[in-house]
Amino acid sequence: MIFTSIVFFLFLATSLLVYYLLPAKARNYFLIIASLLFYAYAQVEYIFLIALLIILNYLVGLGINYTSNRIKRKGYLYFGIFINLGVLVFFKYWNFAIKNFVEFLGWFHLNTLPPPFVDIILPLGLSYYIFQTIGYVSDVYRGTLKAEKNIFDFSLFILFFPKLLVGPIERANDFLPQLKRKVCFDKENITEGGKRIAWGLFKKLVVADRISLYHTTIMISSENQSGETILFACILYTFQVYADFSGYTDIALGTAKMFGFDLMENFKQPLLARNISDFWRRWHISLSSWVNDYIFNPIVLKYRDWGNWGVFSGLLISFVVIGIWHGASWNYVLFGLLQAIAIIYEICTRKARKKISKKIPLSVYNNLSILFTFLFVTFSLVIFQSATLSDATTLIKRIFINQGEFFYDKPSTLLFILTGCSIMMLVDIDREFKVFGFPIFSNKNWVVQQLSYAFLLIYILLAGVFDGGQFIYFSF
């Protein structure tokens, strides 16, 4: 059930109606049923897998919580992590690992048996909810969270449908307390949620899907396209991924808000980041902060005597995990490694950069920093979007070698894309720098605010792409 489909909005409207008509005590049970239906509609065959993982993690949490024996607690933690990672590795990385292992054996002429590949499809949302369950058992082990005793509340923490398939990767500490409150109908939640959904639809249907049509055309014919055209398409891809994923997040957060829940923000004007460390504090925050809390910090703190080398090792491991989290492919590993190398460079040069920043006007330094960060992100996304490393190399070569005219399809294509990107970025610029004295979408004047959303909806109807295109992060 795609968030931009009519079926989803019918499901949402019906669920909201039933949710608020039911007595407050029955609402969480209803949300579990609605979430199971939502998941079953998308992929019914893995409903038992998710149910099994819920039960196992629930029991592991209780096991850790009610055991004072240090070794037993650790045993429960390792068992929980082993089960969660085992499921993730089996479904997502098994074939990739076997393929590479067979190739490795092939170098020594040792591959004689047929490789044990498995013919399976990836359970939807697996990478997202597995990270939630690992976070949960780790928090209970660390003592920062008490194990949830109510299995229904724990189930809803995993299953809550607005975040089930593409996140945000929610923390139990933030979500579970929300399940203990009595949610009353609040008109404000519905209007705020609706506005957030409208903004998400604009980003997805007008910005991301418009760019996608152009970008796909260029990429499938890149051998015949000029270098400038490919470069332009690559730059637009950065806006596309941002609009696609943050648009999804807006719809998820808006939907949750309508039911009275606050989910974690996933983006904070990432394309205005001043360096790569800053970028990762603003991009897919629920994933980057998860990796920071459960991988990076434990490594650097455990190996703090290693000084900088401990930090560098932590960065390399963390970003390889972030890279490969996106999929079982070497281009994602390289994408992650590039981010780590860029941040290591930033650490090593920070004193020199501080000196430079004092010699030139601050606004020039900041704007140049934003530009260089954007260009680096765009470059790394060339690797991210390519199926193989050789495809990425070929594409980069074509930017410098290919001759010809700049291709922009029709003038309307360019107009819709540039207008959409401009509106999206102007809102981000205003949020970041508070430059406009007259906010449009967040104006305190009711009439201005409603008119701005009316304009947004009309623009979606005029310029939106309604072909049911899937979200990019759905496949991760």
Binding site: G143, D293, F296, N297, L301, D305, V311, G314
Partner: protein, 80 residues
Amino acid sequence: MSQDEILKELNKIFIEVFEDESIVLTENTTTSDIDAWDSLNHIQMITAVEKKYKIRFKLNDLLNFKNVGDLCRGIQAKIF
């Protein structure tokens, strides 16, 4: 040693590690309150604290420090 005394000594360590004379710590100070408090400076600060008080924190303690107050209490628990 009282919490206030530890806080004063920590303030000196923070000024030295973060190279910022303007730092004034309170128990509620967190990473978001100090611009230069990144992962590298955090490690340097922790090792400086451990050296100063001749203590060694457990990994779990370090992961659970949410603000300067938690760090003060962690030091106090170790030196008594």
